[in-house]
Symmetry: C2
Subunit: 490 residues, 2 copies
Amino acid sequence: MSEIQVKDLIISAIKNKKVAVLKEIFETVPTIDIAEALDDVEDVSLLIYPFRVISSEYTGELFAELSSEQQEKIINALTDKDLIKLLEESYADDIVDSLQDLPANIVSRVLRVAPTDLRKDINQLLNYAENTAGSIMTTEFIEMKNTVHVKDAIAQIREKGKDAETVYTIFVRDAKRNFVGTVSLDDLIFAKDDETLEDIMDRDFVSCHVNDDQEDVANKFKRYDLNAMAVLNKEDKIVGIITIDDVVDIIVEEANEDVAALSHVAPLEDSYLDTPAWRMAVKCVPWIIILIILGTFTTMALDRIEKSPIFTAIPVLISFVPTLMDTGGNTGGQTIALMIRGLGTKEFSPKDFWKILGKEALTAVLVSACIALFGFLWFTIEQYTGIVTNENLFVEMNGTMVARTVWNGQCWTGEFAAHTLTISGIVAVTLFIGSFLAKSVAVMLPLGVAALKKDPAIVAQPILTTIVDVVSLIVYLGIAVAASKMFGLF
Amino acid sequence: MSEIQVKDLIISAIKNKKVAVLKEIFETVPTIDIAEALDDVEDVSLLIYPFRVISSEYTGELFAELSSEQQEKIINALTDKDLIKLLEESYADDIVDSLQDLPANIVSRVLRVAPTDLRKDINQLLNYAENTAGSIMTTEFIEMKNTVHVKDAIAQIREKGKDAETVYTIFVRDAKRNFVGTVSLDDLIFAKDDETLEDIMDRDFVSCHVNDDQEDVANKFKRYDLNAMAVLNKEDKIVGIITIDDVVDIIVEEANEDVAALSHVAPLEDSYLDTPAWRMAVKCVPWIIILIILGTFTTMALDRIEKSPIFTAIPVLISFVPTLMDTGGNTGGQTIALMIRGLGTKEFSPKDFWKILGKEALTAVLVSACIALFGFLWFTIEQYTGIVTNENLFVEMNGTMVARTVWNGQCWTGEFAAHTLTISGIVAVTLFIGSFLAKSVAVMLPLGVAALKKDPAIVAQPILTTIVDVVSLIVYLGIAVAASKMFGLF
């Protein structure tokens, strides 16, 4: 069934109040697809209908998947009794996710009608700082004492498991309520009835603390192939758990943030499609303005250099400026992107500085040499073919300037060739120095910023571009002056 | 325990042949940490020791986590009997992952000693194209008929589950061997003994085909919060499964590929630290050369424009060229990054073209207007302060050129102010048009490339930069000429 068909089917079942069809749909169609169909429904009486007739076992999940706009409409339309039923079937962390995007009056109504236990959980979760382990954990998990027998553990899971976010991992504590290990559901099933959890539990568990950054938590899941992880408070007591499905979302979110930062967009709170144009502009404009201000240094340098005697004498040197600046930016950008992702996915850390610097230094020499060599060839071609107008390569013929082609033999010998090859040489050497500098700075900046515990993705690239642009231009001028003295050609 | 301590402990236990200590380490330390410690060990006799004395239940996993260099050493050092034991405790997909990086003689030895069933599985997996569902799936899963009773199902899991990659999802088939649903382990535990799998199974399962792209598979896991997914062949029979831990790796890999492509680096096959400098250069150089060649169009445009009468008369216009080009590239780059990630994470598809174009058009107007307004102000400041040397704003005083400051009153009236503000205006209007163009092209290019089923991350950005640079320069010239005619100031 295509998405469009599902949507039509759902809307028509609701409009015609066909409860049986609607029940069949909820049993066979994934909830996220139903939520997407309902996200466009304007009419509240249609939107609320499934919440009145379908078991809250399904509508709890449906509610969590809807946009905050639709959630607000539904909460406003539901009676207190229906709202309680809905809350009871939802997980505390899902409710908190929803509440963070809803207006204050809705939040207080939800907290007022929520059962005491749930309210306590919600309040606790709301108090953890954004992007910490505490803010994404759930408080509904299965905890048992280490002395419990396998048989009783299975009985307990059957009894209480329905309320837990996962029954695949049981968190084991000792008599002092310290967290001592985990038992996976399959270990429990394979174990003998009279063994205790102590006998079968994994002691090589990995845990995190409530204030840990969610990116660090995600990297631990990835590294250790976990399904669920215990979240501990300052006293190392377990206060919640994080499950793998939440982590998948975090990994995508963090990757999106890295891409956004590298492309100078402030992170979006909502999905792209849900972010209105004006908010998009707010995310985009400040960085562009900062970049224009930083670019002032480049403007200043270029302004001085283009009026220098040597650049006035050989205007073709100006034509190569964009190539020099773009190439510096691009080679540096390559390295910075690899650094940002490596730091983001914890593949390496600022501690590996010297190892990475050594490797990048060698890479930088190789890359810079290759592109300088290619550049030398290409810039010569550009001059000979007239892509750039190097005046010395042109002769007057019948009143207009035409290129001295290689066929008339003059260009490959004497002053013309020396002039052309010197210009290509000046640009190529600047390219080498600029690329090498760009790659070196591109290693040091992100690792340095990360060592200061700031986000390298945001800070590093604009500074890199400015440094590389300005230094490249100064080097360019210096080499041009040196070449003119050395070869006496200009 | 810090990483360094763990490493010392393991090496010393191996050197001193302390089996009990080593066993304790394998029970309490996560396998990946042990593997990292052993990755630096050169001496084969030390490396092989754990594989001789520790239960293969642990060493199978350890082997999978080691680098291919170490894996090769170990296979060469093991007797056929020990190798079989190791293979039997490994998952087929892990073995295939290892084999893909090992020399042919090792591969044939492994296939020779592997038990028939395992060999069949390995051969099958080796034949699926890279980055497809087939290449990442495992063939060890639990499949049962729909008529099996809950009690018997649990008994079967206890018996056969140890060999399966996951026991949390049971895949259900009907009498014709068609895949009809899934039962999760917790549903099984909560169910009554005499119910059949048919009664309790989820019919709203999500599956994929062997040739599906791994990125699509990962997006389905994310969208539907799955733990495991069935992989079907052309006849819709189930041939393997993919589990969430494999998907986490894919999501990170795909995000890294997007970042790399946006930064003009060819995707790395290995991790950054494992990629030698020369291979790094191979990944970096070709793109830089392509960008230099594409940049030729910009060079050509600038070369023509800088020699136009109006730019020769007002050289300060050249000083603003980097700002114009960088800003166009940056505003376009913002949009392209959002498109690439949105397409990559399947948040939207080329079908949403008109919706996205409408929203980006509005965003583009807002962003371009804001930065053009700021630009007008900033460029005026740059001229008045002498950041750029607008000759008309300077007067000779005691033999040197000094800025006519705002205090002497002359700059805000008459020709000087008109000249300065006209220049700011020319640059600001070009900035507006350039940014608007950049954002518009940045929407159309990736969506267009994606609609042609090519990878938008690689193709879109270099083309964007070239188009925006060249068009901006031509627009700049046109506006400058128009302004000089309109105001007659130059």
